[in-house]
Symmetry: C2
């Protein structure tokens, strides 16, 4: 397949950029002396994950058991399912382990630990469980000094489960945009998770793994003392949210959506394109950041950013391209019908999920189709 | 499959509600004396569209040529592709017509009409083209009194194409929330599209079809004089955006997402569930409406609305359930781990698109799997 024959809208991966992003993160993790476990929820794509493993990743992180099943079928054994497990999903986790998958599951409450213990004992399975630590009040987990920590650890160990370690994700790192703030939140993530591990060990319980990570903190951390592994996902593609956070240049964003101009409203300075929210996702993650990119930043077909043109509006299969600031009333001449543009997305995880496949554009211009999956 | 064995998150269709929604719209269209052409982009699901056709729909509306291909393969011939066609998609449209599909395509510019004429002549195909009319400044189309209208019509007719009619969509109807405003915008949509048809006919050109519609205007219009058909999509499911617009009660929303409680942050009044934005979509369509429902309205497992509990936050596979107003610090007792809840979505088109299949819950509690497709 060649570039010209691509149907639009289409999700493109710039393979050279992707490889540079993978290399940058892996080298950083090597220098910091930790294992790296990429989060595959960003792409759910075999070819991308293969490239991450080949560069030195050790195991993967998943957000659904379907991801675990698919990537285990593809040969990856070391998998952590980084969402607190619903008791009703334990049979699915058991089936994976019985097939030889070294699946780690996550809990942050005595109720969940009790359910794991009861199910594990019933099926004579010693689940490997990591306790989720809440390092920033962002979502799930137990605060490093929280009362719940030792009861959960004790419940698991006394119940015969393997207490594998602790796991944290400083999701609030997405809310910052200066290097100093990122360094601070990265240190908070590290220190909180290490502190939780120390409390568990001080109680005479095992805690081998200390797993932390988010793309911004992974790229900002100054040292990772006490940490054994780092997880990150979106770094493989980057996006406009990460650009606003300050960890990537737009020239490093490896995912874009190819679209075609289908009409104009010249008096308003609008070009209408065939990429709407179905192709971009409804993600408006830059809305509250320092620069609001609408539904995406407009580039020429070759990927060069076109200054101030944004995908300023989106319906299901229609997008509106307009210039930020003063309307471009010559837009019909600038982007005639049939013009192809590329749109950089706000959020690579959300945009990718709208597409059954990526079209990987190699350095030689060759296009490969890289399928991705969805659902649960 | 029974309800208890459903994996979460899962997209549920309440079949009785869906059938009532279909019946309500079809009866209204029958009473107004127009054909009804549902927009299948909402569900992309054979079983749903079969129910719409069986109730009396005449043909379908699609937002992608993939939808046209799939539903034509399923036996539906009369299809309008309601997005202005990119010239590069004409070969795909031609292939459909050569297979016997009565596919109508849409144009709103001389440039696009020229491309259709050139391609049609080259392949000896008389495309059936409808001209898009802009009745509310919302998106694409030519204003009813716009200068472009007759040049586009003339280009098509002189070029040997079939000028089938005019097509309009008052997308701005979603911005209103009183009956009087909806009646007004419905009349604006009708009058504008009829006016465009009259101008074309007055120029001695054909214009058989006058096609209008959106769910709010279809349900608000007081008469449809001069209109031949109406299109609407989301009415088949309804959602919280439509509820805020004022055209449906929450008890009529046929789509919901089944989810399981996986944790709590009791001091904040949060329950964490396994439906995040991947299951709900990133659509925040109620954000600027009279009531902001966050990522959705929380119901009990049986579908009863639970007062003021909202899905107030969402990450990829985590949702945060909390009470609007004062935090519910007893939430861990109210919704223990393992509790199943249903979430009504902001936007049925966007939420459905996140799921490979619907789980259709029949009046007898029986569950059928209804696949849906995505992509282009």
């Amino acid at each position: 397949m060649n570039f010209e024959s691509l149907n639009t809208p289409a999700a493109l991966i710039d393979v050279a950029r992707m490889n540079r992003n993978i290399e940058r993160m892996q080298q950083r993790m090597n220098a910091l002396g930790v294992r790296f476990r990429p989060h595959v929820k960003t792409t759910k794509c075999t070819q991308v994950v293969d490239a991450q493993m080949k560069a030195g990743a050790r195991g993967i992180t998943v957000s659904t058991l379907k991801e675990a099943e698919r990537f285990f079928a593809g040969g990856i054994r070391d998998i952590v399912y980084a969402v607190g497990i619903a008791p009703s999903k334990l049979p699915q986790a058991l089936a994976l382990r019985r097939q030889g998958c070294d699946l780690k599951i996550v809990a942050d409450s005595v109720a969940c630990a009790d359910a794991i213990v009861a199910f594990g004992r019933e099926h004579a399975e010693r689940f490997d469980v990591w306790i989720e630590i809440d390092v920033d009040g962002h979502r799930s987990g137990i605060a490093p000094d929280g009362d719940r920590l030792l009861p959960v650890a004790t419940t698991l160990v006394n119940g015969g489960m393997q207490l594998g370690g602790v796991i944290a994700h400083a999701g609030s790192s997405y809310d910052y945009d200066t290097h100093d703030e990122l360094v601070r939140i990265a240190e908070q993530e590290r220190a909180g998770c290490v502190r939780a591990a120390e409390r568990i060990r001080a109680a005479g319980l095992p805690c081998d793994v200390v797993s932390i990570g988010s793309t911004p903190t992974a790229l900002a951390a100054e040292h990772l003392e006490g940490v054994t592994e780092v997880r990150a996902g979106v770094y493989v593609m980057f996006d406009l949210v990460m650009h606003n956070v300050g960890v990537s240049d737009t020239s490093e964003i490896a995912l874009s959506v190819l679209t075609t101009v289908i009409g104009h409203q010249s008096d308003k300075g609008w070009a209408i394109v065939d990429a709407g929210w179905m192709a971009m996702s409804r993600d408006r993650g830059t809305q509250r950041q320092k620069r609001d990119f609408g539904y995406g930043l407009v580039c020429a077909e070759n990927g060069d950013v076109l200054g101030d043109y944004l995908l300023s509006g989106a319906n299901q299969e229609h997008g509106i391209v307009s210039r930020a600031g003063t309307p471009d009333r010559d837009i019909a001449q600038r982007f005639p019908i049939g013009t192809r543009l590329r749109i950089l997305p706000n959020h690579a995880c959300a945009t990718g999920a709208q597409h059954p496949a990526y079209h990987a554009v190699g350095p030689d211009g060759r296009i490969d189709t890289w399928p991705r999956f969805y659902g649960w």
